[in-house]
Subunit: 114 residues, 2 copies
Amino acid sequence: MSKSRNLGEFEILVMAALIRLGDNAYGVTIRQEIENRAERAVTVGALYTTLARLEEKDFVASRMGEATPERGGRAKRYFEMTPKGRAHFERSVSSLGAMLKGLRPWPKTLRSGA
Amino acid sequence: MSKSRNLGEFEILVMAALIRLGDNAYGVTIRQEIENRAERAVTVGALYTTLARLEEKDFVASRMGEATPERGGRAKRYFEMTPKGRAHFERSVSSLGAMLKGLRPWPKTLRSGA
DNA sequence: TTATTTATTCTACAATATAGAATTAATACG
DNA sequence: CGTATTAATTCTATATTGTAGAATAAATAA
């Protein structure tokens, strides 16, 4: 078992996307969510690789979607955070928040939604 | 020249510390700032290695402190963000903020200082 | 059985993260 | 001067994350 370290920057974005998407989180939607909200490019490889690693660490769990989506195309693999993953996520977000809180100029996105 | 990617998680913490510390940012204070605020362990090696990389990318600049601190011990190397570094920092923080904003449970630290 | 669609897997390499011992540089003192 | 003490940075090595995109898989439609 690898030593549990802090979540990486991209891992944090992925985890956040999982929460936002709820029960509709799978490869394609996760990718869209990050590209749209974070305005940041996300290649397929980067995303799936990261999801696989998060699952190895037991920070997320996955389940295959129904085999007959009656629409053509491969089955989706849905992801969700595990309690363990959530704990790490909270810790990382907390650290970032503590360091970023109150930094004048821009962090407009970090202040109230106002 | 290496391709300019997104800032890593630790890089973000270090950059934030630089802003918080202003003209008193050098190895030891940066380390304390992160350990205290982010409540996260920071080894010396990790910090200096990261600072060196940020400087290579021209995201931070450094200058040696006075040669006679009249207190014993080696001279300090002060760090500060460059405009280029600040732009990248803003982008990274913006992406994170966009993904984390509104996530009910925790990001209390990311909402208004209230 | 072939084409089309949707989504995931694979493979490889680059960059960041992390550790801690080693080293450097300055002052203090006998 | 030579040695101890103090404060800080550098070095070296390895592990983990980040990134890309081609390849593959699996289902439906003709």
